[in-house]
Amino acid sequence: MVSRTLGTRMPIKVKFFASLREQMSNPATEVDSNAVKTVADVWEKATPKPMPPHVLCSVNLEHAEPSQAVNDGDEVAFFPPITGG
């Protein structure tokens, strides 16, 4: 707890891709790391829209579950099912 209040805190970066990005109106690009514990919390802080089913998540460029914990300075992304190849 001491380190959280004394250290320099970095916000969590938030990104949306493809159809999700288009569906958002002005989603937050950063959220306060103090206000969130998990990937799902990040979504709730970033947008008033409910998280649709089948949304994929990543933390620091790795696939992640909505329940995964997030930390200062993390990059969290949300995107629809992958359709490349």
């Binding site: 159809s19 990543s58 460029l61 790795e62 696939h63 992304a77 099912p81 490349g84 190849g85």
Partner: protein, 144 residues
């Protein structure tokens, strides 16, 4: 170049030749590849153009991880993945996967694995433009 994200149209045979030139001649007996090309139809509709979005940073990381997975599962010499992004016209290549190995079974298996893995793990998204001018995001990949 074991992976490449190409914002412009690319030539699969040149990419493959450049890749194979980096391998020792005579060291491999088998080379399997797959080329995905933009079709002029999907889900019963005429498609005239496509835009491919990706997640810079994560996409590259996933493609490298997929190649490493293939190398750990099969006895292969090396593998290449090239994937287009941006605006794509009918008939243009979208993706190229190549695997070189001593024997053919590993090349076939690993090449197919690369395609299935990238279609489920590598963040790319397709948006189609239909012949009536409307656009739609492709919602899911076809099973392989």
């Amino acid at each position: 170049m074991p992976i490449a994200i190409e914002p412009q149209s690319f030539n699969p045979s040149e990419a493959q030749a450049q890749f194979e030139a980096s391998l020792v001649k005579g060291s491999y007996g088998a080379s399997a590849n797959f080329i995905g090309t933009m079709r002029d139809f999907n889900e019963g509709d005429d498609v005239v153009a496509m835009e491919l979005e990706h997640y810079p940073g994560m996409t590259e990381k996933e493609l490298h991880a997929i190649i490493n997975d293939a190398k750990s599962r099969w006895d292969i010499i090396d593998a290449l993945i090239v994937h287009r992004v941006g605006k794509i016209d009918t008939g243009e290549p979208i993706v190229l996967t190549v695997v070189c190995s001593a024997h053919r079974a590993a090349a076939f298996d690993a090449c197919r694995f690369l395609m299935e893995a990238l279609k489920s793990r590598a963040p790319f998204w397709k948006k189609e433009t239909l012949s009536d001018g409307s656009q739609r995001w492709v919602e899911k990949n076809t099973p392989g």
